[in-house]
Amino acid sequence: MTDKKRPMLDELKKGKWPSFVKEMERMEEKPAVKDLLGLLETSYEDKTVHWKHGGIVGVTGYGGGVIGRYSDLGHIYPNVAEFHTMRVNQPSGWFYTSDSIRTLCDIWEKHGSGLTNMHGATGDAILLGTTTQHLQPCFNDLSDAGWDLGGSGSNMRTPSACAGPARCQNACIDTLHLCHDITNEFQDYLHRPMWPYKFKIKISGCANDCVAAVARADFSIVGTWRDSIRVDQDAVKEYANGGYDIFNMVVKKCPSHCISFDKETADFSIDDENCVRCMHCINKMPKALRIGKDTGATILIGGKATIVQSAFLSWVIVPFMKLNKEDGYAELKDLLERIWEWWDENAKVRERVGELIYRKGMRTFLKEVGLEAKAQMVKHPRANPYFFWWPEEINQAASSDASQEAAADAEVK
């Protein structure tokens, strides 16, 4: 532990936005945090990172949930020579009671740096920095208190969900229940990496996609409806009378131009057959417009960041799935298992499911997981004529005749 000055970190305590440095200093009595502060100051001086790749560390029975981390300046900052993080699986929707927060704090005070990320980008509550020997005890205490770890490594990652029905009128599905249910159903996949690479699931209650499911999950569940938007004409008129520019802010911005609005009478009607349920009009007039009643979800696949083949946004594989709580989301889980099986069997090391589909083609994916091709899966059909035929689709007799021709042909030449 050094008593190094930290002019650059001090600089970062200024300004109106809450300072992470102040947060760290609140824990400075912990040697690890003091060293972390020193290490960071050194990084700012050197303009580079001072951490090395993590080795395999973890807790008994799990292959994931812990990120091992070692410093290359361990000789200077011994208390962060080992500085692993633990990923604690958050409650669906990130709702907490003050007591549940305190429990986590107490455990982390006992076993770690006292620093956290609330939350990680995948959704876990991150306990930031401890030593190898504290991992198991910390996990034991967490487990006793009713907490479990989230995912890391080549496994199912911690699913996450938007606030949904707990706090939002736009929720087309019970995001929290679904998230909790899936997380528990697939505990084994979550804790024991046995796949080619990571697999992420995110659940948004509507097309606003408040957990960025389409951008950040291999498997994206986005709530939607099949019937029609509920319009409260009186409420529309109130917006109009309130001077809200319905025509320019709502009608003109409808992507499928399916709203008709009479500026005089303020009559507002939606051609639901042509509505693509983008949420815009509902967002802009929440008191007048509501999502439909026959709700479910659109399932999309393949979302991921840049590495390796550049970022993919998830694409539609099931336009509408009625998610049944009653049967425990059987249809959804069954689909997931089929996808995992195919991916697991066919993917190369570190090949995301979206990249595998790109390599093998949607036609193979659909056939193998037993889904039907639907026009909703594409922006537009293929432009190239490079499409394939399944053996059963062609006239088999032909090939033989053809070979004969070929032979004949050969003679002639």
């Binding site: 042509n274 693509v276 293929r382 432009a383 394939f388 032909a398």
Partner: protein, 357 residues
């Protein structure tokens, strides 16, 4: 060569100026506007106030010298000996005397040559060699085009379509004629993998070129046979290996046929150029009149005529309603074949929950 005399080379084509009528020479580059006099007749007015009339005559493109001589005579009689051909292979008679327009039309139509194809009409079908001259043809060009034009003839004669209708045809995936950006395109395709004549490959083909020719990397060397082998899984029957190596026979009379694409466009107007996209993966080769093909194209044309707004090209109509709606209206099955799985596939996937049911 039988003859020893060597001709003068590299002289280039005749100078276009020699080919232009006086009225064009006088007003070259000084045109002010054009008018549609009637279907098949264009009037171009230059600053000078003259008037040039172009009478467009539909052509099968395959023309005998007998017919060409007839055209020359017509040109002499009405056009001071001037005519031209269009980029879609029609004939255009160029008149400076309005009074001669109707007589010319009467005479040429009496000879069986239709006048039309201007404005918002069906233009002539760009097409290629087919079984008349190319070794590579998976279907015939002249017959399919004739059959389709016979059926859609009135759309060529009248110019009352929502917009121009450009139909193009190619007899194999080489797509001579660039059908890949047409309102409606039909292309001869194969559906079975090449049969390999090892001996022929060994004797006649550059194996590295053969391997390189495959878009999907389906071809591997077969050293034992000094030939190649083809991975069934990866071959999508494009025939490019056949182009570079005759001993990879891809013709398959029972399975070859025609694929139909829609919604392409070349002009930069409004939305800009766009590719045609797969609508119907296959209709059979059914000579001499390809009824399945003709019905399909007629149907595709009629739904556009019925549903498009004035001024909407085929693809602009589809973009407005969405492809999923198009397949509904067209009552066409959407299959896994319609989903791209080549190099640029991912950007064609629908990465949003915004769609119609």
């Amino acid at each position: 060569m039988t003859e020893v005399r060597k001709a003068k080379t590299d002289i280039g084509p005749p100078h276009y100026e020699k080919m232009l009528p006086q009225i064009i020479k006088d007003n070259y580059g000084k045109w002010k506007y054009h008018e549609y006099i009637k279907s098949g007749v264009l009037k171009h007015v230059p600053e000078s106030g003259d008037a040039l009339f172009s009478v467009r005559v539909g052509s099968p493109r395959l023309l005998s010298i007998a017919t060409l001589r007839d055209f020359a005579d017509i040109a002499d009689k009405y056009c001071d000996g001037h005519l031209r051909f269009t980029s879609r292979h029609n004939v255009e008679f160029l008149l400076s005397d309005e009074s001669k327009v109707e007589p010319l039309i009467d005479e040429i139509e009496a000879m069986g040559w239709p006048v039309g194809g201007t404005g918002n009409s069906l233009n002539n079908i760009i097409h290629t060699q087919g079984w008349i001259h190319c070794h590579s043809a998976a279907t015939d060009a002249s017959a399919t085009v004739k059959a389709v034009m016979d059926e859609l003839f009135d759309y060529f004669k009248n110019d009352q379509l929502p917009a121009k209708l450009k139909i193009s045809m190619a007899c194999c995936l080489n797509m001579c004629g660039a059908v890949h950006c047409s309102d409606i395109a039909f292309v001869g395709i194969h559906r079975t993998i090449p049969r390999i004549n090892d001996e022929g490959v060994a004797k006649g083909c550059e194996i590295p070129n053969v391997i390189a020719s495959c878009p999907t990397g389906a071809i591997r060397p077969n050293p034992k046979a000094k030939s190649v082998s083809i991975n069934e899984e990866k071959c999508m029957y494009c025939g490019n290996c056949y182009t570079v190596c005759p001993s990879l026979t891809i013709m398959d009379a029972q399975n070859d046929g025609v694929a139909i694409f829609v919604g392409g466009k070349v002009a930069n107007t409004r939305s800009g150029p766009a590719f045609s996209r797969l609508a119907i993966p296959w209709v059979p080769n059914n000579p001499p009149r390809w009824p399945e093909l003709v019905d399909a194209i007629k149907h595709l044309t009629e739904i556009w005529v019925k549903n498009a707004k004035p001024g909407e090209r085929y693809g602009e109509w589809i973009e407005r309603i969405g492809w999923e709606k198009f397949f509904q209206i067209a009552e066409l099955p959407f299959t896994d074949k319609h989903i791209d799985d080549f190099i640029f596939s991912v950007p064609t996937f629908r990465t949003t929950s915004n769609f119609k049911y």
